[in-house]
Amino acid sequence: MFSTQHSALSTQHFSSEARSKRVLAALSGGVDSAVAAALLVEAGYEVIAISMLLAGNADGHDGGCCSIDDFQDARRVAEQLDIPYYVLNLKEAFRSRVIDVFTNEYLHGRTPNPCLLCNRDLKFDLLWQRARELEAHFVATGHYARVTYDQQNDSYQLQRGTDQQKDQSYFLFTLSQAQLARTLFPVGHLTKTEVREKARTLGLRVAEKPESQDICFVPDGDYARFIEQRLSAEQVKAGEIVDQDGQVLSTHEGIHRFTVGQRRGLGLGGLAEPRYVTHIDAQSGRVMVGTRDQLGTRGLLAKEVNWTAGTQTKETRAAVKIRYRHPALPARIIPQAEGKAVVWFEKSSPAVTPGQAAVFYDGERVLGGGWIERAL
């Protein structure tokens, strides 16, 4: 129904009339956003580069997305492209809207996705405020995703990035039609290899820079310790590890150390069959474990659903991704009142993790998505 629309990269944005328009391009210091900005400059846009200072004090803070080195790289790329460069101080917003939420979600037995929160509340919200201040027509990022225009329905469509390995459309399901209309993903139609190749051709200094990994504000990857540093002793919810019948198998030092589907770190050796976390009960502090068969569920309840491609009120078939790195699974989606939706998986029963997003796909196209409230 839509397959022909996404062949040309956001054609409406790259038409000649769009040129000379002002774009606010987010530069992270990495290669993807650098090439994104470079492509916009090549296409004739007036590009203003922005980096966002999110975490740390950027004074001696090492690693992660907000190290001095990354800002230095971003600044030098902007110099190479001969475009103005600014650093936005979003530390306060990042603390209240991402880090605090991140910590709080773990305390409620959920597994948050800070990149999703950051995209929704910072990249595409506060960045947009700056864009309006500076009379910029578009905001651009280095995400691997595409926006196309559906003439028939006069609507904008969020599509997977061409590089299936890198596709980041999962992180973008919260975008509204108004935001999609003014968002550019210049590397969305390229593969990572092509992006690096382009960076080399342009002589961009970040061409060979390695990928950033893990959660940007927890550079060492030890998020449990990060959370513990931010909590008082009473807030840490220690408790029991129980089996499906409620039999106590062991104890643990805090529910924030667990996520659904987790196998390691349970301290349950010597069992014939491996055990996985199937459920985390924040109230009682209990972590329930089970076998692989007991891990899966038939469906989930999603809240704060955003219908990216246009609001759905009827049952819809779609492929649903319940974690960024999971494959999309065929499912039926039944919209509910108050912006919720029930998702029933058709062939599989995956491990559903409250706090993550469920994103609905029709082939390449994102139909919408919501935050997983609980497994059904």
């Binding site: 200072l53 004090n57 004074d59 103005p84 201040e133 500076l134």
Partner: protein, 385 residues
């Protein structure tokens, strides 16, 4: 695009006369001033002439002038050098809440090393009161450090009045005059200071050179070791060309200090009247009088300073807001918070600082551009909330 530069409190352009004076010391007279031979003597001559010029600039003796790498080093040397010299007795230092970070940060470190630091509050215009100072002075106080003029809002402190009280208590006075130099007449004796910091690039000299005045007889220990330069107070081969530039810049600044003050006042008055005329809900940060004539700090209620600064920059107008961190992002000004502004007002402030090269046409151009930039930033904030 022609840039209109209204950020002279951050730095100033090098005067052509200064560059001309410096050049021979970068190529022809390249000698090391510590060398005994002719080349060394020639370089030393330039260095010592520069010292005389900088000394004359503040009516001090040449022997009382130490060259440093700039204002930050001068401030650190004053605070830490005094600490080292008075290690047994120096237990208490007094400063104010609106000092530059090169005062407040070293003092924070010293506080961690066992020194007690009293930070005096300021009033809504940024002035420190004699009563507060009197109440803070104790028998174990060794040093008071106060900025002569504030870098962000331009408030001028009544140093002469304060220094009398300080000396009656047998306490030493350090004055950070980095921002005041070239804008106010500077006489170390009438000010009654024991230590005074200067920086060349704030008065149309080169970056990377500053000075610390150390009144004769004041005991100060160096922070580094490794050479006999600068009376062993600041070892390391001297930055001769920069010192020569500093000397010339200081001499020229002293000659035109009245003209510059009048010129600056005319421009900032024009700018402030124009802003009040064309933009609603604006307020002045800092005093109406007794302020550096070149400095105008204004809060634009409901508009983020960061957005204003970027919008003006894209229109070719250079101003500043807050102070930049290592990454280059803007932190809310501790000075404005100390003046009793709330965080929102502090974040909506823009500092305009004019210079000897600023023209009325430039001010008028700013007044053409500014209202629409403010309106846009305010509108964006409204649509956000």
């Amino acid at each position: 695009m022609q840039t209109i530069y209204l950020d002279h409190n951050a730095t100033t352009p090098l005067r052509p006369e200064v560059l001309v004076a410096m050049l021979p010391y970068l190529n022809v007279h390249f000698g090391n001033p510590s060398s005994v031979h002719r080349a060394g003597r020639r370089a030393k001559q330039g260095l010592e002439e520069a010292r005389e010029q900088v000394a004359a600039f503040m009516k001090a003796r040449p022997a009382e002038v130490l060259f440093t790498s700039g204002g930050t080093e001068s401030n650190n040397l004053a605070l830490r050098g005094m600490r080292r010299a008075t290690y047994d007795t120096g237990k208490h230092i007094i400063t104010t809440a609106i000092e530059h970070s090169s005062i407040l940060e070293p003092l924070r470190r010293l506080a961690g090393e066992g020194i007690t630091v009293t930070t005096l509050p300021v009033d809504r215009e940024g002035r420190v009161s004699a009563e507060d100072l009197a109440a803070a002075l104790r028998p174990e106080t060794t040093l008071v450090s106060i900025g002569l003029a504030n870098h962000e809002v331009g408030t001028i402190q009544p140093i002469t009045a304060l220094s009398r009280m300080i000396h009656e208590h047998d306490v030493l006075l350090h004055v950070d005059a980095v921002q005041a130099a070239g804008k106010l007449p500077l006489e170390v004796h009438s000010l009654g200071v024991d230590l005074l910091s200067l920086s060349a690039h704030k008065l149309y000299g080169p970056k990377g050179i500053g000075a610390l005045y150390v009144r004769k007889g004041t005991n100060l220990l160096p922070l580094m070791s490794g050479g006999a330069q600068e009376r062993e107070k600041r070892p390391g081969t001297e930055n001769v060309a920069a010192a020569v530039g500093f000397g010339v810049a200081a001499t020229l600044a002293a000659q035109e200090i009245e003209w510059q003050a009048a010129h600056s006042l005319r421009l900032t008055t024009r700018l402030w009247e124009g802003i009040q005329d064309k933009v609603s809900h604006v307020s002045l940060n800092g005093p109406e009088r007794d302020r550096l004539a070149n400095t105008l700090n204004v809060s634009f209620a409901g508009a983020a300073g960061e957005g204003l600064m970027m919008g003006l920059d894209l229109a070719g107008i250079a101003v500043s807001t807050g102070s930049a961190c290592a990454a280059g992002s803007i932190e809310p000004s501790h000075v404005l918070l100390a003046l009793g502004r709330d965080e929102a007002m502090a974040k909506s402030a823009i500092r305009f600082s004019v210079g000897r090269d600023t023209t009325e046409q430039e001010i008028d151009r700013v007044l053409e551009v500014l209202p629409s930039v403010v309106e846009r930033v305010r509108a964006a904030a409204r649509s956000q909330s």
